[in-house]
Subunit: 322 residues, 2 copies
Amino acid sequence: MTVNGARPTMSDVAAEAGVSLKTVSRVVNSEPGVSGSTALRVQEAIQRLGFRRNDSARALRSGQRFRMLGLVIEDVGNPFYSAIARGVEEATRARGQLLITGSSDEDPLREQELALLFCERRVDGLLIVPAGDDHRYLEPELRLGMHAVFIDRPPGEIEADAVLIDNAAGARAAAEHLLAKGHARIAAIVDDTAIFTARERCRGFREVAADAIVRTGVHDAETGERVAGELLALAEPPTGIFCGNNRITIGALRACAAAGARVDLVGFDDLELAELLSLRVSAVAYDPAELGRKATELLADRVDGDTSPPRRVILPTRLVAR
Amino acid sequence: MTVNGARPTMSDVAAEAGVSLKTVSRVVNSEPGVSGSTALRVQEAIQRLGFRRNDSARALRSGQRFRMLGLVIEDVGNPFYSAIARGVEEATRARGQLLITGSSDEDPLREQELALLFCERRVDGLLIVPAGDDHRYLEPELRLGMHAVFIDRPPGEIEADAVLIDNAAGARAAAEHLLAKGHARIAAIVDDTAIFTARERCRGFREVAADAIVRTGVHDAETGERVAGELLALAEPPTGIFCGNNRITIGALRACAAAGARVDLVGFDDLELAELLSLRVSAVAYDPAELGRKATELLADRVDGDTSPPRRVILPTRLVAR
DNA sequence: TTGAAAGCGCTAACAT
DNA sequence: ATGTTAGCGCTTTCAA
């Protein structure tokens, strides 16, 4: 009967049903060539024993794919990245694949560790939101048939598919919005320009507002609050501020609330409750889940044998004026 | 050399280095008993070939654990659940385990599919935020040595560990807060009481405020907005409202904004920008990541052989008055 | 329709 | 210090 702790194998089932191992395999995999009565006996034995096929052994022998993707993101707990994960999951589910996920916490070494661990588990492919800017560590894997698609930021030092958003266009739209509102003095607060997205957003903003004040290297809400506070304390403070990401927007909102300042804010990334805030906050919005879905589709094509040159998909943003 | 598409095995490495398979295995696993010069030759062959150990074959043979946990949550893209996932990931990482994640979308059948798929992949254990209330489908697995810990809601029809929050106490605190503020008419808007958390929150609230208006069955922000609007349109509208979850809180906020009503809101789950909203919103707050961490620790104990009776861990909430 | 034998890539247990 | 053999749980190949 069902003995505790011992997982039954196909050969246990075979013994229980009084058939050969191969017949059990046929039943489990719905292969033809098993008589109804035999199949029934096997099914019953499977039920009695609580047998469940070992998918790793199966993949090992058949040499087939593991039907599993590896996703490396910055932080599973961050709503922006978890929205990407959500998109990836929708697409993998549609393909009957499972998903291993890990957070790099913006640490390039951790990103590498995770990606390589996933390779060790023989995932079909890798989806990476890069923390680092040198992905040569993947070269041996890619040469041996592993596939990787990059999300939100392009890969560094290697050629590979990437799905990005149009950062520069979004930032241009933000600057145009502020100028159209008639602000004479506008400013931008952006993350470290070593980061691709921050660099692009900075560039786009400056293309439209060449003489705006620009503060870079702002990574979290606390710094955002401090820097915004400094801007508001200037002799001639800006009356419109572009915030390079949602953490900065939150910091800037706090600074404005603290200073009692009435400033027009435009943030990259939308905020869920933006409409209910005491200050009006416009947004450069886009769909993070679509990044994940698109990347997963690209990856699936590669896994299926697409060998065309590396592609770069750029997703649009839209300005939500408030 | 490095031929495209063909993954080298240990025996390829052995041939390349001119040693036996077992010697390669020793080097790869840092086992003692290999001379420095041999180890070096093997290392070089590994580099040249781009060899990476197949972890599934390893686990298959050694009969050891796969060092992988399966997590079933409602929706990876929902900040509340992704915070749980974050806590789980922190704890698994500390143990050198990987994490497979899937979203049930509140569909009991999907929950079951995912959990059983994870078993097929031979995860060491299961972490489940239940969508359904009947988990007997897990019985065969549990009998055969699989372990499961439930998060946020208890399992149904089976005995298993669970990590919950003190829903009733949180709701009581919310009611007490509203009464202490001197509100004569207070109301509660809560999710479907078929859901454990909603039922508990409802119960706690009623224990303190027996004659409050209570609306149940509210699942999303849209319905929350409509129901809150109805309450505000009453001849004698409530002046304090308890919202049973963050989606309801958002809906109620919109309704208050639309009606221009000045109402004291207390929401279960905190909102990131609550301090910056035009309306003051207090919160029954707690740490979702701690749910995930705690559950992962419980699970690790079970995997390590702990056979004590099923445990139930209740995590506290705290009222954030604003 | 059914089964026996070989082997996927690796490690355990035993040689040498 | 190094190698040989067997076998994890399954599928493939071939035979009956």
